[in-house]
């Protein structure tokens, strides 16, 4: 299955792109997608997640426009976004 991944703010600069499609096996969870992203974009490993990332890293993840947890299962066509803590207002 394919999911669309979007990157915002500093994460867009780390990824070098604002958007890409990533192939994943059926039944993958968000944490599997994150592993894939760390492979594709080593800067995320180095600068964001560290070697043994945990859910408390300063990373927000949304799935189809809602905040999502690492354990959520993905579906084909999902839009997942990765972004740093917000600073609106």
């Amino acid at each position: 299955m394919k999911v669309k991944v979007r990157y915002f703010a500093r994460f867009r600069e780390l990824a070098g792109t604002g958007e890409e499609e990533i192939d994943l096996p059926e039944g993958s969870k968000i944490r599997d997608l994150v592993e894939k992203i760390k492979e594709l974009h080593p800067k995320f490993k180095e600068e964001i997640f560290g070697e043994d990332y945990d859910d408390s890293a300063d990373v927000n993840i949304s799935r189809n426009g809602r905040y999502a947890s690492f354990d959520e299962e993905l579906k084909d066509g999902d839009i997942v976004a990765l972004f740093p803590p917000t600073s609106g207002g």
Partner: protein, 147 residues
């Protein structure tokens, strides 16, 4: 529209926002208007560059408005946010809460500003005399990209 993103040069019309929440029942209207100020943690700010994940920001602002209407006995609420390159003195956010009485209007307005800052996917980059910083929550992270 009670929930809206404004891309500069679009700007807020506060009277319009007040009109959107007013009814014969409203006795107290609390408003918060955020602006770009010239200083941030000792750094002299030249401008702020706001970026939004637009579709999600709108949804999250809607959820905050609905949350406020449940949590406080208010009558209505407007949440507006701007993005783009905003100079010192320019408007950034506008929240208007209408209540029968001022107490709940103030409480809901204060709560909603905090929630927007915490949850709505909008980020700012500070352009200062010490360089350019991504602002992430309470952190300021130097921007590596050349401007």
């Amino acid at each position: 529209m009670k929930i809206r993103l404004f891309k500069k040069p679009e700007d807020f019309d506060i009277a319009e926002a007040v009109g959107l929440v007013s009814s014969p029942k409203s006795g107290g209207i609390a408003i918060f208007l955020g602006k770009v100020r010239n200083e941030s943690h000792g750094r002299r700010v030249k401008k702020l560059i706001y970026e939004a994940y637009e579709e999600m920001a709108i949804e999250e602002m809607k959820r905050i408005r609905e949350g406020a209407l449940k949590k406080f006995p208010i009558l209505d609420m407007v949440i507006w946010h701007r993005y783009g390159e905003l100079e010192v003195g320019e408007n950034t956010i506008l929240i208007v809460a209408a209540g029968k009485h001022r107490k709940e209007a103030f409480e809901a307005c204060i709560w909603a500003v905090d929630e927007v800052k915490k949850r709505v996917p909008i980020w700012k980059k500070e352009v200062t005399d010490e360089g350019v910083f991504w602002i992430e929550g309470e952190k300021a992270i130097p921007d590596k990209k050349v401007h």
